[in-house]
């Protein structure tokens, strides 16, 4: 009887140990490519939302065993024709020991016909990695776009690889607008442009904001974005052109260095969704003490546009700033 109890206890202990010791561990495995012969692969190099006017960049790699022949052509077919500036590199890039990308010419510069961009190889090579830059056209706004990458070898073999679909945002982008106090200081969100007082007088219904720079004793004013309808104390010394009287909702933002606008190292992107979910109810119609790398969310008085205005740079001496705008039409 005693022995039975000992055995049972021992057995239970072993089971307990077994349960805790045999937990499955996740093991990372690498799946080798199936088969051999002509192979191809694609990676998308650009991150973030796709905006009309910007590029989507891919790297298209293709290779076949040397004894099977050489590559004769490579092409990309987009579901929507790319805008002017779409091209497939005719150089194959590799990264050298110093981290620099080095290009080796493998063919003629690409030619684009309709939706197809093609490179005919001139080099005798059995491996290449070509970069494809798709300039997002106006027709793609709010649409999805697919890409079919394909390559042909001298033995008649063809390989292809499909990428996408990628949704193109509805946003607009305008970079590097220079605003100057008492100069080109009237900002139109509708036009995504900056006007002088004379130009603003010609388009008063399009002026949403006035840029100004003030140094007022005892207060911190500096660079400001003020709507024409704001209290006069926030736009001191400004005589508005006739008819310029619109208001706007504005909220200062800090730390939102959108990659498209700032073009710095921060991987922050403002997407359509941010504008869709933005709620500026109850926000004021002016923002002062704007700093470099800060920004402001705005919504026009007519409710037609929401936008993010980013301050790329400010210049206290010249009383000016360089701004970039991302805009979403509601």
């Amino acid at each position: 009887m005693q022995r039975n109890y000992s055995y049972i206890t021992l057995l239970l202990l072993i089971c307990l140990l077994g349960v805790s010791a045999c937990q499955e561990k996740e093991i990372v495995t690498v799946t080798p490519l199936k088969g051999s012969g002509f192979q191809n692969d694609v990676i998308k190099r650009t991150l973030g939302p796709n905006v009309v006017g910007l590029d989507i960049e891919f790297a298209y790699a293709m290779a076949l065993p040397r004894d099977m022949g050489r590559i004769t052509s490579a092409q990309v077919e987009a579901s929507i024709s790319g805008a002017s500036g779409t091209y497939l590199e005719h150089r194959s890039f590799y990264t050298d020991g110093g981290g620099a990308d080095v290009g080796v010419v493998v063919g003629q510069p690409s030619a684009t016909e309709g939706r197809i961009t093609r490179v005919n190889f001139t080099a005798d090579t059995s491996a290449a990695t070509l970069r494809y830059f798709y300039r997002i056209p106006e027709e793609a706004r709010g649409q999805s776009v697919n890409f079919t990458f394909s390559a042909t070898s001298s033995n008649g073999q063809t390989v292809s690889y499909t990428m996408g679909p990628y949704t193109v945002g509805k946003m607009d982008l305008k970079l590097d607008l220079n605003v100057v106090d008492a100069g080109a200081c009237y900002i139109s969100i509708a036009d995504m442009a900056v006007y002088t007082a004379a130009q603003a007088a010609a388009n008063p219904d399009k002026i949403d904001l006035v840029y100004l720079y003030r140094t007022i004793p005892n207060v911190t004013f500096n660079h400001g974005l003020v709507s024409p309808a704001a209290d006069a104390q926030y736009r001191p010394g400004i005589t508005l052109p006739a008819g310029v009287n619109r208001s706007i909702k504005i909220r200062k933002a800090w730390g939102i260095r959108d990659f498209h606008l700032a073009r710095t190292q921060f991987g922050v992107y403002i997407d359509d969704l941010d504008f869709q979910q933005l709620n500026l109810e109850g926000e004021p119609n002016f923002a002062i003490n704007m700093r470099a790398e800060s920004g402001a969310w705005v919504e026009t008085a007519d409710g037609r546009y929401r936008a993010y205005i980013y301050f790329n740079a400010i210049n206290n001496g010249a009383r000016s700033a360089r701004i970039s705008i991302k805009r979403y039409a509601l």
Binding site: T220, A287, N289
Partner: protein
């Protein structure tokens, strides 16, 4: 051997019962621990704007005797959309709770927040006086 095994089992059961039957610590209606601390004061105060940056021009003046907080904010601060932050003594809590932006624009009727001590027996209302920087 059987006797030892039984003793071991009984000890195990007793220890399990002891661990399982310990009284819970008291918690309040918010699920926060009620402790023995009777201290009740604000140790620091912050006001953030819509961009989550401070709008204070200088350190706030916290009077724990008069139970007031004096804070000056930058010219042009949007007083309707501010995020107050209180630092309280250990175990204390704030009433009403701060759940989002707060409207401080009614300067004639300053906001009052009550600090509740860790033992939940002492309540001290603090009045927040906001003044705007003037040119």
């Amino acid at each position: 051997m059987k006797k030892y095994f039984r003793i071991a089992c009984v000890l195990l059961l007793v220890s399990v019962a002891w661990v399982g039957c310990k009284n819970d610590f008291p918690v309040d209606e918010d699920g926060l621990l009620i402790t023995d601390r009777a201290e009740c004061f604000v140790s620091n105060f912050e006001l953030l704007g819509g961009d989550f940056q401070t709008v204070r021009t200088k350190n706030p003046v916290i009077d724990t005797t008069a139970q007031t907080i004096q804070v000056e904010v930058f010219y042009g601060t949007d007083l309707r959309n501010l995020f107050p932050q209180f630092s309280l003594v250990t175990d204390a809590k704030l009433d009403p709770k701060i759940t989002g932006k707060v409207d401080f624009s009614d300067l004639a009727n300053p906001k009052v927040y009550t600090v509740v001590s860790g033992n939940r027996k002492v309540r001290k209302p603090y009045t927040v006086y906001v003044t705007v920087q003037k040119p």
